[in-house]
């Protein structure tokens, strides 16, 4: 995908976000009008932004984490997520998580029928990887660690905590320890033996759904065991996309916060001068802008197509981005953008702390992004112990 195409996708996402997402966020309620979320996601699917596992779906090829991302890299998906997150990181998270789920089904032989049939069109799929009590490590991504869900003759056993998805998730692609290492299985949310507990009352990203899954001998028929040959369907590949997407949400969220802070600083007066004329405010805005710029640059490099993998990459011959760069992108982008958001909020003073100005929502989202999936200390350890060395 060349720069022109990438910019066109970015522009499409930006227009969609302004038209559909921004009104949803509004100024009322703690997190906006979440009742309208489903409609926005339907329109995102129609516009080809939301990925689909259905070859006839608009987003099958170029939706977020659509099939093209396997061959052409993460840049386009990351760009679209960033633009969506400028208006709302929560909605962008739904698109991100649903895309990750859809991609796990792309290319499966049964996709056109059993997997993406009537039961799933428009119904998001979520990916369950992180087993309870498992600390992510390089070796654990290669070979299932003790905490992973187990897939044996008796079905799926174990638990996955904090499984991210879009509202209305009806099925899960579960990474489980099988006879040949990591294997994948598709299970319905209503499957016998599967208990799902929604994680309510969270700090941010309220639009997305988060659930704990408990598997107690959940039967998996052969047709629901997904092919494991594809290198794009490994835990490494999934985690890489997950990390890059979260980094993109952090950057977009911070861009939006900075935009709001600048707007406020241009409009309001203090001490007889526009707020933006005060050096104290300029320091905050300048610091935020430089952090967002740095994070944005790092993200684009980490997601750029055609990056030659170092020894730390998984070298799958398809998406060439080394995994450790994705870890570093999530770590750095979330940290820098979190700081940028809190500085932007500070520009508004007391108003920034009030719900209606939406800066506090952005800060809650930013902090959630920083803590979620793989937390900073583990990311640091992963970067430090990258098998290929930090380069």
């Amino acid at each position: 995908m060349d720069t022109e195409q990438l910019n066109a996708m970015r522009e499409t996402a930006r227009r969609f976000a302004r038209r559909e997402v921004a009104p949803l966020v509004g100024t009322e309620g703690r997190d906006g009008d979440l009742g309208g979320l489903e409609g926005v996601l339907v329109r995102a699917a129609e516009a080809g932004i939301l990925a689909s596992a259905d070859p006839d779906g608009a987003g099958f090829e170029y939706g977020v984490w659509g099939r093209a991302s396997v061959q052409e890299g993460a840049a386009a998906s990351v760009a679209v997520l960033e633009e969506l997150a400028v208006e709302c990181a929560g909605v962008a998270a739904c698109v991100h998580f649903a895309g990750l789920g859809a991609l796990e089904l792309v290319g499966e032989e049964m996709a056109g029928e059993a997997l993406v049939g009537e039961e799933s069109i428009g119904g998001p799929v979520a990916v369950a990887l992180f087993g309870r009590g498992w600390r992510v490590s390089w070796s654990g991504l290669q070979t299932p660690p003790p905490g992973a869900v187990h897939l044996g003759a008796g079905g799926l056993m174990g638990a996955c905590d904090f499984v991210y998805g879009a509202p209305g998730t009806r099925r899960y692609v579960v990474f489980a320890a099988g006879d040949h290492g990591w294997e994948r299985a598709l299970v319905a949310a209503e499957a016998e033996g599967l208990t799902t507990a929604s994680v309510e009352s969270r700090m941010g990203l309220a639009a997305a759904s988060v659930a704990h899954l408990q598997f107690d001998a959940v039967g998996v028929s052969p047709s629901r065991r997904l092919a494991s040959a594809s290198a794009s369907a490994t835990p490494q590949a999934h985690v890489r996309r997950l990390m890059l997407g979260l980094a993109a949400l952090a950057v977009g969220n911070a861009r939006g916060a900075l935009r709001e802070a600048r707007r406020y600083a241009e409009e309001r007066f203090q001490g007889g001068a526009q707020i933006e004329d005060h050096p104290a405010v300029q320091l905050l805005l300048g610091d935020s802008a430089s952090r967002v710029a740095a994070a944005s640059a790092w993200l684009r490099e980490a997601a750029a197509p055609g990056v030659v993998p170092d020894a730390g990459g998984d070298g799958d011959g398809e998406d060439q981005t080394p995994l450790w760069r994705a870890f570093a992108a999530k770590l750095r982008c979330c940290a820098e953008c979190g700081r940028a958001v809190t500085d932007s909020l500070q520009v508004l003073g007391g108003y920034g702390y009030m719900e209606e100005y939406r800066l506090e929502k952005r800060l809650r989202d930013a902090m959630t992004l920083e803590a979620m999936a793989i937390e900073p200390n583990t990311l640091r350890l992963l970067c430090a112990t990258n098998p290929g060395g930090v380069s």
């Binding site: 988060v210 001490g271 104290a280 009030m354 920083e370 979620m372 937390e375």
Partner: protein, 483 residues
Amino acid sequence: MSDGIRPVGARERLGPLGRLLFDTEARPIWDHDTDTLSRPLRRLRHRYRDFAEVHLSCQGLAADRDPDFVDIPELFLRAAREGFGTELMPPPWGTLQITAVWRGLLLPSVLKAEELCAADGGLGLALLAHELGIAPLFVSGDLKAYFYWLGRIYREIRAGEPAMAAFAITEPGAGSDVEDTEGARSARLGCFYERVAGGFRISGRKVFITNGAVARWVTLFAAQKGCGVETWTCFLLDKSMAGFEVGRHERKMGQRAADASELILDEVFVPDDRVVGEVGAGWAISRNVLNFSRPVVGAMALGIARGAFEHAARFCNETRLANRPLSDYQDVQLTLADMLMKLSAMRATVWQSTRYRLPFGAAGAIAKVFCADTSWEVCRTAMTLLGDHGYVHSASVEKAARDARLTQIYEGTNQINRLAIFESQTGAEFGSDCAGCASCASCASDASGASGASGADCGSGGECGPASPVQYKIKTDRRGQSE
């Protein structure tokens, strides 16, 4: 590591005197710090903690979800029954322990703020804001305000009435302006008084007033109509006054248990005897109230961070990753140690700020800024330490982070407080030999800016007088460059 190498084991190889000099007892730093206090303060600190654990900890999360869950006046009365709502007057009027304030007026207040906010930032604020509300009655040095009005408020409290107070300076167009000298020169004020027979008529609005909805008494600052902050006067209002209403309640990110409300005044008649201090002394009173209150805000930030740390430490002990407690991992130990180190530094800063003969601008602002910024860091770290659990409401640390964020904003944003540090130390650390002249830029600026905030003729015939000059004078070297 063998037991002989560990400090406890190694200590046993020492003689009796050596063992006495080598403290290896595993005690929380809280206990070590408490030991450094006088006996009355030690007792007080324990009582504050016990009260907070019983009455605040268990209600914090619910009050955060639903601010109406806790009956704040009732909670206030429970605190008052413990003697925690009447600590600005000695017995028989109040519960001030002279022996406790011997080494610093503010030390009991900061101890209380830390303990209440360690249990819950929102409920802690609701209780502490009462003291901010009555602070002008004490800080003004007005004996009538202190003995008559404060005495009356305390009588009501002793009688079992929830006579809470609120402090009202912030206005819709003047938030930070009225907490900073430079901003105050040209603040766009929106709450004014007019002299009338027997008193004053006040109209205008105040916003973000903590306890604005539940307080019976309000110390409110208003300027003479058409004038600037130099005419600010402090009034003691009560909610029963005609024309005095509570407006909208703000929806805040954190510290949600304490309401932040708008106060609307429509020609409220205030009798002469409700003036606190002198007419026109409001600016001085408000500045000194901030000198007294900012260390307390620092202590609140410290308390919130301590609460987050305690939750995180407990989580790390109870949670197992790969069959080991999280606290067994060295990276987690490093992070927890870092948090504890920051808590110690915050406490040292706050306690130091109370040891001066009187609170002053730089001391209060340093405590407030350092603790607010550090508290935010500690809470963020606590969140990330918990990973995905960190953003779940029931884990409490995300709430602590939201609570901590407000301490960087109220009592003057941290940016305004940094300027206050500079202003307070002008003539000392940032001093100049210039005693005031017409030629250097800073003095000329002072002179030109001394004509009142609005610059307009207020019609007072010069009664309001010039604003107090502020002396920002940057020390310059011989080439005229600032150092």
